[in-house]
Symmetry: C2
């Protein structure tokens, strides 16, 4: 193994550093954030930073990059207070990746990339119809990360759409037939395959496989 120091990282050419540092966490969830501007323009944006924050209350979040480079999603969430999180499906990875292009604010990425928006009567933000797991959230909090001018956007879960056949008896989602993908680095899409599921861990007790 080689060791790369802080000084070497700082000296790397920018794109090399971006590729490396984005690869470091390992596999990341692939989701499309759906929003709609107050003028009714729908927006879809792929993100690899969606996270679980808590179950009671049920909260999720994602990292918003500096709004100098990317801001339609952020402005829509702040103005309308609603957004959706939609799993990227392996059948639609090219369309999902294409949402990362910088389209003008008055353009709907749904139309441009060929994804289908799906709305119900009560929820303002659009879902991605091609997704097998869709989550509707109400904006709760914008937490600034001052060190690099990013933000943690926190939402509470208002509704979940999921195939009933993908819900295990214990509430966990069965990913085997879901076709949800993961992202490594900036641009690589991966399928996932179950290795093992383990029991709740306790000191001095041998794990069992579930």
């Amino acid at each position: 193994m080689i060791k790369i120091s802080r000084e070497e990282i700082e000296g790397f050419e920018k794109r090399y550093r971006v590729q490396l540092i984005n690869s470091l966490p390992g596999v990341k969830s692939a989701n499309i954030i759906g929003t709609k501007s107050k003028n009714g323009i729908e927006n879809a944006a792929i993100v690899s930073s969606v996270m679980h924050l808590g179950s009671d209350p049920a909260l999720m979040g994602f990292i918003q990059r500096p709004t100098t480079v990317q801001r339609d999603t952020y402005e829509n969430i702040i103005e309308t207070e609603f957004f959706t999180i939609n799993h990227v499906n392996s059948k639609h990875i090219a369309a999902a990746h294409q949402t990362s292009a910088r389209y003008d604010k008055d353009v709907s990425e749904f139309n441009e990339v060929g994804l289908t928006s799906f709305c119900n009567d009560v929820f303002y933000a659009p879902y991605v119809k091609e997704s097998n797991v869709r989550i509707g959230l109400k904006f709760e909090e914008m937490i600034p990360i001052h060190i690099n001018n990013t933000k943690l956007i926190v939402g509470s879960i208002e509704e979940i759409y999921i195939s009933e056949s993908c819900l295990n008896e214990d509430g966990s989602i069965e990913f085997s037939n879901l076709h949800s993908v993961g992202i490594t680095g900036l641009d690589t899409y991966n399928s996932i395959e179950k290795l093992k599921r383990f029991s709740y861990a306790k000191p001095k007790i041998k794990l069992s496989e579930l």
Copy 2:
């Protein structure tokens, strides 16, 4: 597809809700955080919330659960200012999962679960020798998430250990032979398999596969 409402989520039995909500983001990275107390006791703790925060400066973070339920890692980071992030390898998923058991503060999870700690002369926190990607970080910031009493812990990257053969020419990590795994839900470990890598997306330009 079925729709699950906020009221239904709030009414679920606690463990069912925890399983469901933890499954919602999709696949999450599997990493072990390595720390050492000021008294020299090493600690290893699996987390599924490690995230990329930025490349310049090179920053990573993770979500710290309320310290009423889990605090050795947090206390060590605050007191010593250093921690490591280590990819969970498919060959060691049982040991990695076992680090989630609540061991006493004076017990080293490395010894209890059978992982090997690895230190160099200058870095205070221990690495996991079994990991193929190991990252040494200096604590930068603790950002409280008041809505549910969790915290975002931010660190800057001081050093990276990686197999040179897993570094692509452009700086991205090649995951094909790395054996890093992803977590779905609370307790399910998954291998990842590359589907496609795409070019940088621009409006009106067809994506190419890399």
